[in-house]
Symmetry: none
Subunit: 216 residues, 4 copies
């Protein structure tokens, strides 16, 4: 099935924005690469700004949906956390360009759009923090850790991947995710949580990951 003009504009612009930044890409450039015209662009989007919003919204909505599914489909804090972390594999394989735009160009969203997006970002953060808190109550996660900082530490570790992960590089997102899960679980679980993590096979026992060269 042929892709619609609107879809072609969206996909083209994401890749261009990722590479050159929102202001480094003109509408002219987008429509040329997407095989349409300025008229076609403005027939589908009210403004370049609205296109930027669309990119933001598609991504954050997808991430929230996956995380919420992970939450409800798992019972224990360790398994919920593992599942949420795992859901990021798909996100990065499919949405890496979205993420770059999401985290680097949001300054250029207009205020109205910015608010909508921020509310969704908050929903995601709060869900993760809730899992941490539930784990502390159940005795799976160390109680001396402040859940808000831990939440942001985890989000930072994961999100930062967009800065260095290369889809055609030597590391797969599965490998990276395995290491992240291991690091996060080691850093927050109690002995009780450690046993479950082991049973769920969420920890690295032997190194198997190729060493490569990365740029921050």
């Amino acid at each position: 099935m042929k892709k619609s003009v609107k879809e072609r504009i969206l996909e083209t612009s994401i890749h261009l924005f990722q590479e050159h930044g929102y202001h480094g890409v003109t509408v002219e450039k987008i429509v040329t690469e997407a095989g349409t015209s300025k008229g076609g662009f403005y027939h589908n989007y009210k403004s370049k700004d609205e296109l930027l919003y669309e990119i933001h919204d598609v991504f954050i909505s997808y991430v929230i949906e996956k995380a919420e599914i992970s939450y409800v489909e798992n019972k224990t804090p360790v398994s919920k956390l593992s599942a949420i972390l795992h859901s990021f594999i798909k996100v990065f394989d499919m949405y890496k360009p979205y993420i770059t735009v999401f985290y680097e160009e949001s300054a250029y969203l207009n205020d109205e759009f910015k608010q909508i997006i921020n509310e969704k970002r908050d929903r995601y953060r709060k869900l993760l923090q809730k899992v941490i808190e539930e784990g502390q109550e159940s005795g799976d996660f160390r109680k001396e850790l402040p859940p808000n900082i831990v939440t942001m530490a985890i989000i930072g570790m994961i999100n930062w991947t967009y800065k260095w992960f290369k889809q055609d590089g030597p590391l797969t997102m599965e490998e990276i995710t395995a290491v992240f899960k291991d690091l996060i679980l080691h850093s927050i679980v109690t002995e009780k949580g450690f046993e479950e993590a082991k049973h769920l096979n969420q920890l690295l026992s032997f190194a198997g990951v190729i060493q490569t060269d990365l740029s921050v």
Copy 2:
């Protein structure tokens, strides 16, 4: 002592860029707020692009310098790592606006500048990775972890702070750093390394951090 025109331009622009993005701030705006003129601007900077480079360079050079001092002034992997992590406290308190610009506007550096900056970013990453590798060789850090991914995980966790840390917010960078060090050490040390970390008092024993509300 009165600040020079060049310094005033630099400081003004960093704050404006942080808030509105590089393309959301005009030279006109900068010179008005900095109390100079277009002529004054171009007398001190060859272009707006060069100013952006200057901001990048001031920041990354400072970070590298501090990290390298931390490296040579400490002997063991655990203490080296602790010191490097600790050096970020100062960075965030002083350079938060620089970091935002550094990580969100580098797409707009011209290619020549971009290369210079990337080389410095690499130097920093490689230094941290070297500490991890030395710790694995000495038996302080778990050998099954791939050092490159661990390096990026740590960098991500730390850097992400610029997205949510607020200088006049409820958390101090000291508190945040204490938690980060605890998390990182728990996630990578062996039993041997754990003992040293305890002696160096790098681990949280009892929670003392206020719980607050954050936005991602």
Copy 3:
């Protein structure tokens, strides 16, 4: 009887043009309000320009027709002039939006259309001037007045009404017309003409018009 698409477009556009000016109204707006489509528009009119011409032509043709009838159906200069002035009552009640467009948007007619319209405007002016001249010859109107300037003075007084007359305002066109006829006749008739005007009851004897607030 249902109105045709063409009629709906014409009526809708006149009101929109009157309010927002020819360039302040898009074809999109017209077709939406008229309940048709772009295709429907261009099926009925070759261009937006032609629609503007149509509006001009409908109006000026109507005015000429009425004036010429007034001319031939009356015998004396005083009665001819009164009848022509009177025919404007109907014009304003029915055609006020046409008049606004006619006098404010004709700059945007293309040259070919502009010429056709100008010829019809001339016919109207010449008819009125002819009445003035006949009145001077018959001794009803003062001979020292230059008929061309008098003609334009009358036309100006009448036409200007479109700038301030409000259909749902406090004054009716009948009241206004009565005053205009009084003013015009007083200003141009001789004693002989005055007698006839009195007999035809074209002069105000007692004021009966409500005083109201108007904007130029």
Copy 4:
């Protein structure tokens, strides 16, 4: 003394707007004819819209000033009215292109500007109406005339001149003004007022105006 860029833009644009309408003239056209650049234009005017406002304001402010001077410098209603009418001679000789723009392009002023202009238009109208009312009270003008309609009739007669008066045509504004004053005075004065008008030499005794061809 050389004219400033701002003045050259103003004068050029008035003539272009008069001929082709506000929307028939591009900023590009204005700056080319005025011998400057787009940058020069926007350095002096915030927008094309603001330029349109400037044209409106220069004109209406001038007209009000002259009318108010005429009012205070004359004592009787007949002389006040004559002086105000007379002040239009200068207006038309100097400001004819302004008037055209003023009366045909005001639909394109933005709402804020439109309000400011409308208030000034009102001031002018009210001043004229006041003279009429004072004349009725003093017994110089016929009491059966509604002053508001008379005011608008006079304004219409005068203003309409911009539609047909040609600076290099066969009629001078002095000649036209003489006729207008005669018509207006004949149409509104009582016998008492008539005597004063005669003494002030405001009435045509013998025709001296050349007959010419005009277009409405």
